[in-house]
Symmetry: C2
């Protein structure tokens, strides 16, 4: 459901140029220096492996970060929802792939309108499909435009979610596309979401080797049918080095590498990948202090816990803390070390003191916030560089 | 972080008066008939037990539902954040209790401004405190107004989150309040969040019996100090019948009873409580169909899973489905029964078919959406009565 970006509240506008200390809590804070370093590492990886880089906008849901990625060398952006694609398009990004199925007729009308808009700007919109019904409905919606939309056939390479089975059924869909003048068969969408957080490098490697066999099988079937897949697009932050090594993909779609999160930081480090650093934080503060714990003002409304709880990022001089679930509006903080002669209280932060959290999962955490507070110069002594809207949060 | 309500997108405005079938997905749909029945049951309970009813606005985050509750007989509303209180105040609700600690100086300035606004309208704002520092900062902020704010001392009665220990320390805070002309000691905030989802009636009963002893101990200490607590406020949807039976509370703060959710529906039914029915749903639709599963367009962006996954609400004629985690934008649906001669596919919904979900936890689910689609006449054949903004979603 598309909505206009929320208006910028006055107290946020006043923050630009101020110290990070002045940011009220809870706030979604981005370390822009770290974002730029992460982006540079990914661009270098893609260039070295001669892969097109199409970062996933579902991670940041923001035209500002989309433009930053294009400027750094991305060929375009991915989106997971129509509203994300609209937000990226409205923000000046001309090449967007919705890597997901759209069946709703009202949404397909929006897809056609956006395809027309990007096409007349010299860009393109792409969409994934995995059913004949999806192709028919898309073609019906595209009748209202003179644009051409790029269509990727999504194949299920192991996740068991969306995607047609990696067999002749993919060829049937490609044939169906070939008969539609407003739809251009562009290639395969092949993403294995279930492999991203397999903890060991060996597990992730095995999953993508198996996935690559499926991709290659479908490629051969398509070539035999005279409908070759020009582009094979997929991969995420957990596995992209394996997709690169397989040679089966021509384009990668990682999203989380920009911000990172506790879940990705828990993966066994893959020496074949560049190392990314956490760049997205929740700034919270202590609102209650008991003998053995402190309570901060960040709970499920501030960070998503579908992939686990956040971790506390101790700044210089801060004792390590463990975050426990405190519900929607609270986090409960316990000292990591209590057996100290100073007693437990000495390890707890003071009332009003800032506590920085690394979210468990970046994408749905971003979705909870209307704005990013973009900071340069680090968390301890940084300054607010910009306030950026999360245009596509909570819209579809 | 206060923001203006998001503008109503045109396609939502056009929905009023239309069939629920026309609601695009994913959408937060409220069955208003069920809400009104749940509200009536709670009002009758409170009246019978001579308890003031102050429903918790953290559940709905909406002035519309707040006004509905006042009209039904509530004495006022609770809020958990300053932004919720501001949204309720802006929506015409004059008596709001922020049942939470506020330490941030910018937020305390907003508290003072709202206290002034409600005071001059003949209403009142109340706030919970659990520290001397909190009282000092509040008094400092209130210097800028001539209003009086009601202050509740929060005591920890078993949850181990916010609240001062239930001993002489509460009296110390009450004495500190007595010396501040802009702060009025109004009573005790005593909520046991940890007891709400203990599964058996016996466990919930035992937790609240213990909590009531702590409340009564503090009441006696305050009386002995000449600072009696006029109001003791607390309780939630899981336990309020036990607080009522204890005689220690004068006011109850349930929130979820209006909407209900899978987590509350899993509690053993308490015959001392009225029975509430699910009234909040996610309308989703099937976007992908495989041999053994379907995929709908509702994931972590549509419903919160901190208290477990949603359940599928089968409408007449729909086969029962089991919801499995599909990530941020997807839900994976499996047939509940597969050993059928018709084969599994016959139990799966069709592409584009609507699938209705009961969220695991209502409060953070509401927080993900910009608007409620308010429906009368049921899910299968209802009509859209109103589109109501979730004014306080994602703001603090």
């Amino acid at each position: 459901m598309k909505a206009q970006p929320e208006p910028l509240p006055d107290h946020l506008r006043a923050l630009v140029g101020q110290s990070v200390d002045d940011v009220d809590t809870p706030a979604l804070v981005v370390d822009l220096d770290a974002v730029n370093r992460n982006m540079q590492r990914m661009v270098e990886f893609a260039a070295k492996h001669r892969l097109r880089l199409r970062p996933h906008g579902k991670a940041h849901k923001s035209a500002l970060f989309g433009r930053l990625q294009l400027q750094a060398g991305a060929v375009g952006l991915c989106a997971q929802t129509v509203a994300e694609a609209e937000a990226l398009g409205a923000g000046g990004i001309n090449d967007v792939l919705i890597s997901n199925e759209v069946l709703s007729v009202p949404k397909l009308r929006r897809v056609a309108a956006l395809a027309h808009q990007l096409y007349t700007r010299g860009g393109r919109l792409s969409l994934a499909v995995d059913s004949g019904e999806g192709i028919e409905r898309l073609a019906q919606a595209m009748v209202l435009t003179r644009a051409v939309i790029d269509v990727y056939i999504e194949i299920d390479i192991g996740q068991g979610r969306c995607g047609v089975a990696p067999d002749e059924r993919a060829v049937t869909l490609a044939r169906q596309l070939a008969g539609r003048s407003s739809l251009r068969f562009a290639g395969l969408q092949a993403y294995h979401g279930g492999a991203q957080h397999l903890r060991t490098v060996a597990e992730r490697h095995a999953a993508i080797v198996e996935a690559a066999e499926k991709v290659n099988a479908v490629r051969r079937l398509l070539e035999a049918a005279g409908l070759p897949a020009d582009v094979v697009t997929g991969a995420g932050t957990g596995t992209f080095a394996h997709e690169a090594a397989s040679g089966a993909w021509t384009e990668i779609q990682p999203g989380s590498f920009m911000f990172m999160d506790v879940d990705y930081l828990r993966n066994e480090r893959d020496p074949a990948q560049p190392q990314f650093e956490p760049a997205l934080f929740i700034k919270s503060q202590v609102i209650s202090l008991a003998d053995d714990h402190a309570v901060c003002d960040a709970g499920h409304k501030s960070h998503a816990i579908d992939s686990g709880l956040p971790e506390v990022q101790a700044l210089p001089g801060q004792a390590p803390l463990r975050f426990a679930n405190g519900g929607d509006e609270h986090g409960v903080l316990h000292p990591e070390h209590t057996a100290d002669e100073d007693g437990p209280l000495s390890h707890l932060p003071a009332l009003g003191e800032a506590v920085w959290l690394i979210p468990g999962h970046c994408d749905p955490t971003v979705n909870l916030h209307s704005h990013y507070v973009v900071v340069r110069g680090g968390l301890a002594a940084g300054r607010v560089e910009a306030i950026a809207p999360v245009e596509a949060r909570g819209v579809w």
